[in-house]
């Protein structure tokens, strides 16, 4: 962190308990996925990281095997308080949502038969799609200083959307091919 000139003005979690409750709070807001909330809470509200750092961390969390959000919690927590921070963030991300999901599972029979509940879930699903799309647009707008430049970044992002959503290719192929090409191009631009 010390090499980064902006690190000095940046906010940080006070202690592992702060990490735990921050991650609990953002996990409990995460309907249909936690990613949009992580960006909003950690980048825009708490200012623990910039949009660029968030995209970089998310890329690593996505590429490593295992649940993405679990990986992201471990990475962010570890950066501040080492193993204790990683465990605090991970516990925050999982503990209360787990209790909630169990409660819902026990009540499931009553829940599923209510038309109003089914409608509410449908409405929340539509909002969740918009949350993710909005964050994607916002993050794209934030990569101004990318070594590849705007047009090439847009092309790579568009190719990824076509490959995943249009052609429905497996991520197992899309990530190495498009990601590998993007990394190679970036590597060539980053002259030593």
């Amino acid at each position: 962190m010390t090499q980064n000139p902006t690190a000095a003005q940046r906010a940080q979690p006070r202690n592992p308990a702060d990490l735990f409750w921050s991650f609990t709070w953002l996990a409990l807001q995460g309907f249909g996925g936690v990613l949009a909330v992580v960006q909003r809470e950690l980048v825009e509200r708490k200012r623990w990281m910039t949009n660029e750092e968030f995209v970089e961390d998310w890329a690593v969390a996505q590429i490593m095997p295992g649940p993405n959000v679990v990986n992201l919690s471990i990475m962010i927590g570890d950066r501040y308080f080492g193993l204790r921070g990683a465990l605090a963030a991970l516990a925050g991300m999982l503990l209360f949502p787990l209790l909630l999901v169990l409660t819902l599972a026990v009540l499931y029979a009553e829940f599923s038969s209510h038309p109003a509940v089914a409608g509410a879930l449908r409405g929340m699903g539509a909002v969740a799609a918009g949350l993710i799309a909005g964050v994607g647009i916002k993050l794209f707008a934030s990569i101004k200083n990318h070594p590849l430049g705007r047009p090439l970044c847009a092309l790579l992002a568009a190719l990824t959307v076509v490959a995943m959503a249009g052609l429905r290719l497996p991520l197992f192929w899309v990530l190495p091919v498009l990601g590998g090409a993007a990394c190679l191009l970036t590597w060539r631009k980053l002259a030593p």
Binding site: A27, Q29, F31, G32, V34, A36, V37, E52, V55, W58, A59, Q62, I63, M64, P65, G66, P67, V70, N71, I74, P97, L100, V101, L102, L104, S112, P115, V117, G119, A120, G123, A126, G130, L131, I132, A133, G134, G136, I137, K138, L139, I143, H146, L148, A154, L156, A157, L159, T160, A165, V174, L175, L178, G179, A182, C183, L184, T186, W187, L190
Partner: protein, 197 residues
Amino acid sequence: MTAAATMGAADWLQLFLYYLSLSLLAVGGAIATAPEMHRFLVERQAWLTDPQFNASIAIAQAAPGPNVLFIALLGWNVGINAGGPGLAGWLLGALGMALCMLGVMLPSSLLTWTATRWGHRNRERRGVRAFKQGMAPVVIGLLLATAWVLARAHGVPATDWPLWLLTAATTLLVWRTRLHLLWMLGAGAALGALGWV
């Protein structure tokens, strides 16, 4: 009807080992391995019924929190099936949940923890910077693709346009304003409960 009546220690061990081995294969998110889990838990071992499997995924998707919790619910239901109603089922449910979650998280989390520590120490290296920055546009593309796949579940725009409109309005609000996300989710829930979307 329950899927399996009894589970011995060897079965629990097998469940744990199965998730341990699955952990490092779960590239691209836990939900991508759901078909594999269905093959093992429902078809091969018959520890779960089909409706239990589907409900576990649906509940975890609808509830707040990471989607990976559907694995916890799968483990919970395996335990409920083995223990039957009452306290025994709840205890075995907790056991199944703990085994599945620990199994699926331990190997991948240790790998991530080690790898990101190495990456952070070597963050000025050209290779590490190229990897992290180069992946950015592709990761953003993946996000937009996820949004598209979620929205596509709405149905055709001609008849289900209110849902598409709601998604588009949310996209604009998130992009252009700092409105709290919970307000948008609450509005979506209210509109859906009233039957307007």
